[in-house]
């Protein structure tokens, strides 16, 4: 038996033509690793086109997974292993391969034509030149063809099956079981036994190839986390679960309305698959109808939810104003992508923060929350819904492409462990008025059907308490202030901001928000080990800003705000606290690397 070496963590990148099933094998490897209890963080990077030009750098789809037994909070800056389906995938990602790293290559993707398209010299096989690396040239297509020669399936299907060979081999290399993938293939090819058998054969052949290859094998043990039951979850999935849970917890039906848009379409797809839980999902004719029908649903007593990305968010501003004016619960998810306009549809960015806070016309104030990781997205979405319901207000949930498609291990709660959510439905009132408020400024939710409480509400300014149309100047000012006060009150319920890592005082505080959390956390670890006086605080509850943030900021000489935009949170922090925070922008459609954060801090202190 071959000796197996134990590793604490590994980063693998799967890369190939978009259409090679890269995202699929990446997710398979991820779920299998989650099943083994590894900590993990993933990053998907794919072109905007469904089938981008083959074998070119622009057409490469990538799936990165960083997994281990130790804490993993970022997908990793550099790879230990590159699984490449063609020369372009190697060319694009080779600079990020660690010295001495492994390359598992599909040799058929290295024909002279493919080499040329990738920008290599056509007759020189780069795989033969990489002396300092551990190269596994695998004739994946050849193996598939040979194995499947007696199978009555198309040439194309035989070729596509090559990714199963790669997956089988890498499962063997890192000592992972095939069971989960076998289970998935059985689900996918339920109705096509030939294709099922073909894919299973190639998967197992890849694994067996490892057995006879006399290659060194590895083990990555399960996580050192607190004991419990865990699963893998993506950001998009986690948000849908959080909202569904909140609705059920509140005793409400959830009505989700969406319009297909990258990278938010999966929200709609997930909700559509929860019908057996009583979840209502509606594919609207456009973004405007999506938000407006969700408002209609909330008016009639469901929890209205809508989700979108950049350009769709712009279209929803009109509806946001109405929801705010009506004072009805509504959750709006913006899975941010590179903008403006169509921008970079498949790439990540944090450039809609100012829009979320200031985007609406008129004096509008809408709570904004941004989860820090795929698993946190569950909790943050749950609280977004709780606030929307209990405070009768729209709430914006800011996700982004990286968070949406990224995944990590999640210790899911049991429903009995959840917080309560109490919808402010009317309980017996003799003198009901639609805009009467309670002590925290919230009006009652009276849905159609309640006899004796028929009333009319709308987008026109309304008289305090009665809700009758009013153009009275003083009343308008009063109403604007009342609505603001209601939102301001919410921050009393926000969790207190805290130092995530590092000391309470020091030279530099990194203040991050949204999906940059994990990368900053990983960077801080390195910086602290170097003895740097640096700490990290992270915001998930962004508007209204939580109480106590000023105290944290005051305890540091300098504050650095890294953001995947041209500087947005920094405006808010400067505005609120009059401090000269230092911006750190990255606007490349990809997350920060740990190294970039580390370098920036070294430059400052």
């Amino acid at each position: 038996m071959i000796f197996k070496k134990i590793l604490e963590q590994v980063t693998i990148l799967f890369a190939g033509n978009s259409g090679d099933g890269i995202q699929f094998i990446g997710r398979q490897f991820t779920n299998t690793s989650a099943f083994l209890g590894n900590n993990l963080s993933t990053l998907s990077d794919f072109p905007a086109e469904i089938r981008a030009p083959r074998d070119t750098l622009a057409g490469i789809s990538g799936f990165q997974i960083h997994f281990g037994s130790v804490e993993i909070t970022s997908p990793g800056d550099f790879f230990d292993v590159l699984v490449v389906m063609n020369a372009a995938a190697l060319k694009k990602n080779f600079p990020f391969l660690k010295k001495g790293g492994k390359i598992i290559a599909n040799t058929m993707g290295f024909t002279s034509k493919s080499l040329q398209l990738a920008g290599y010299t056509p007759d020189v096989d780069p795989l033969k030149e990489l002396y300092d690396y551990d190269v596994y040239p695998l004739d994946m297509i050849g193996h598939s063809h040979k194995l499947l020669q007696n199978f009555n399936i198309s040439q194309k299907d035989k070729e596509v099956a090559k990714n199963m060979f790669a997956l089988g081999f890498i499962y063997w290399l890192y000592s992972r079981p095939l069971g989960y993938t076998e289970y998935c293939l059985k689900q996918i090819f339920k109705k096509n036994t030939k294709l099922l058998q073909a894919n299973l054969n190639v998967l197992r052949a890849g694994y067996n190839f490892g057995e006879i290859s006399e290659t060194e094998r590895f083990i990555v043990k399960s996580s050192n986390r607190p004991s419990g039951i865990y699963r893998n979850v993506t950001g998009n999935q986690s948000i849908t679960l959080g909202l569904a849970t909140a609705a059920i917890q509140a005793g409400l039906n959830l009505f989700y309305a969406g319009y297909p848009i990258t990278p938010a379409s999966d929200l709609l797809n997930y909700f559509a698959s929860y019908k057996n839980l009583g979840i209502k999902s509606f594919q609207a004719e456009d973004e405007i109808s999506a938000i407006t029908s969700a408002i209609g649903a909330s008016y009639a007593g469901d929890l209205g939810v809508t989700g979108t990305s950049g350009p769709g968010m712009a279209l929803k501003q009109e509806g946001l104003g109405l929801a705010f004016m009506l004072e009805l619960p509504l959750v709006i998810i913006n899975v941010q992508r590179g903008g403006p306009s169509t921008g970079l549809p498949t790439k990540t960015e944090q450039s809609d923060l100012l829009q979320a806070i200031y985007g609406c016309h008129g004096e509008v104030s809408i709570p904004v929350l941004a989860p820090s990781s795929p698993s946190r997205a569950f909790t943050v979405a749950f609280y977004a819904a709780k606030i929307a319901i209990e405070h009768m207000t729209p709430v914006i949930l800011l996700s982004d492409g990286y968070l949406a498609n990224g995944s990590e291990l999640w210790r899911f709660p049991k429903t009995y462990q959840l917080d309560t959510i109490c919808p402010p439905f009317l309980k017996n009132s003799k003198n009901y008025s639609p805009y009467q408020r309670d002590e925290i400024g919230v009006r009652r939710w009276v849905k159609p059907g309640l006899a004796g409480y028929e009333h009319r509400i709308g987008g026109l300014e309304k008289e305090d308490e009665t809700g009758n149309i009013s153009y009275d100047p003083k009343n308008h000012e009063k109403m604007v202030k009342l609505r603001q006060k209601k939102i301001d009150f919410i921050k009393k319920k926000w969790p207190k901001p805290r130092i995530d890592s590092g000391k309470k005082t020091g030279k530099l505080l990194i203040l991050s928000w949204g999906s940059t959390y994990g990368i900053v956390r990983a960077a801080i670890k390195i910086l602290l080990s170097e003895g740097k006086s640096v700490s990290h605080s992270h915001l998930e509850y962004i508007y209204p800003l939580p109480n106590g943030l000023d105290t944290i900021l005051q305890n540091f000489k300098k504050v650095l705000i890294p953001e995947l935009n041209n500087g947005q949170l920094i405006h808010i922090i400067r505005d609120q606290f009059l401090i000269d925070a230092i911006p750190f922008s990255k606007i490349q459609g990809i997350p920060f690397t740990i190294f970039e954060i580390v370098e920036k801090v070294r430059e400052i202190i």
Partner: protein
């Protein structure tokens, strides 16, 4: 329920329409029919967008939602899918429903959500004080078209029939009896009913429908459709419509060559014929045809809200799921 009368449906709000506006007559008829439709008033919801007509919900003592310009169909969709037991009415105008809200309207119709749409067509933007609307006649001079419009108007009933409406009808504010009858028919229909109401805006477009409402003119220029009855019009019912293959013709019964058997009998269930009828709109080639009023077309087909909820019930029955199972996913590990 029987004890309801019209007054039960009037809210305490002052009505702010211009004196003489056709909207008053529509409001009155709606308030008159509601006691008869068998819905308790707390289950009735009026939804609107923006415009003169869209103030309607404020004057009804039912539930009401005054939304944003053009979006009433979207609001109504959410309301009806949240609670299919509600009786939902969409009040819209030619600008609200056919211009800024055109997209929502056509999609609502193809889905066949069980709601009633009342389109108050006055061929003008009233609340913004007189700009041309998508139903204004070609060449119409307004504040925003001082030299006359150059855009062809919509033929609303053709448009909605094309969008897949399952009930279409036309009436006017000036004929309370017919208006009332059409409101009841629209309400009766299961699915989206679309009722176009010619509504006089006496401030910005007075008399635009005169040809169809003034006694002297209307006899020769209107055709009242009745199921199973011959399409005849004129002071002595001396004219009729004949179908010559797929081409309609106006014929005179006074000409000896034609008899009753030559006249087209109205059939509300015939979509092709309804399509021909909607062309009676003064468009080139159809100048001589009278304007039809009444129910053009109706069809029974499953409503969106029913299909929507059936899918959910079926999924719940066939693959029951609990939240705990959903949260745990199909693959998890114990650490």
């Amino acid at each position: 329920m029987d004890s309801y009368n019209k007054k039960n449906f009037s809210s305490d709000q002052d009505i702010k329409w211009c004196p003489g506006c056709g909207n008053y007559s529509i409001l009155k008829q709606v308030q008159t029919i509601l006691p008869e439709i068998g819905f308790p008033k707390e289950k009735i919801v009026f939804v609107s967008g923006i415009g003169c007509s869209s103030r309607f919900p404020y004057y009804m003592d039912t539930f009401g939602l005054h939304g944003i310009h053009g979006r009433a169909p979207a609001l109504a969709t959410g309301i009806k899918l949240a609670n299919p037991d509600l009786n939902v009415w969409i009040i819209t105008g030619d600008g609200d429903g056919l211009s800024i809200g055109g997209n929502h309207l056509i999609h609502l119709l193809r889905r066949n959500l069980d709601v009633n749409i009342l389109l108050f067509n006055n061929e003008i933007y009233g609340l913004t004080k007189g700009q041309h609307s998508p139903t204004s006649k070609l060449g119409f001079k307004t504040k925003s078209s001082p030299l006359g419009t150059i855009d062809n108007p919509f033929n609303p009933l053709s448009l909605v029939l094309g969008a897949g409406a399952s009930f279409i009808a036309r009436t006017t504010d000036r004929d309370p009896k017919h208006l009332r009858e059409m409101l009841l028919r629209a309400q009766e229909h299961r699915g989206t009913s679309f009722l176009e109401i010619y509504q006089n805006c006496n401030v910005f477009n007075d008399g635009v429908f005169e040809n169809f409402t003034e006694k002297s003119k209307k006899v020769n220029q209107t055709l009242y459709l009745k199921q199973g009855e011959l399409m005849r019009f004129g002071s002595k019912k001396q004219y009729g419509i004949r179908l010559d293959g797929i081409y309609p013709k106006v014929i005179s019964l006074q000409e000896s060559s034609y008899s009753f058997s030559d006249i087209w009998t109205h059939d509300e269930n015939d979509r092709t014929k309804a399509e021909i009828l909607t062309r009676f709109f003064g468009t080139p080639g159809y100048e001589k045809f009278p304007r039809p009023f009444g129910v053009f077309y109706k069809e029974e087909r499953p409503t969106y809200d029913m299909l929507f909820h059936d899918q959910i019930s079926l999924a719940q029955k066939n693959h029951p799921m609990s939240l705990d199972i959903l949260l745990s996913g199909d693959l998890h590990c114990k650490i």
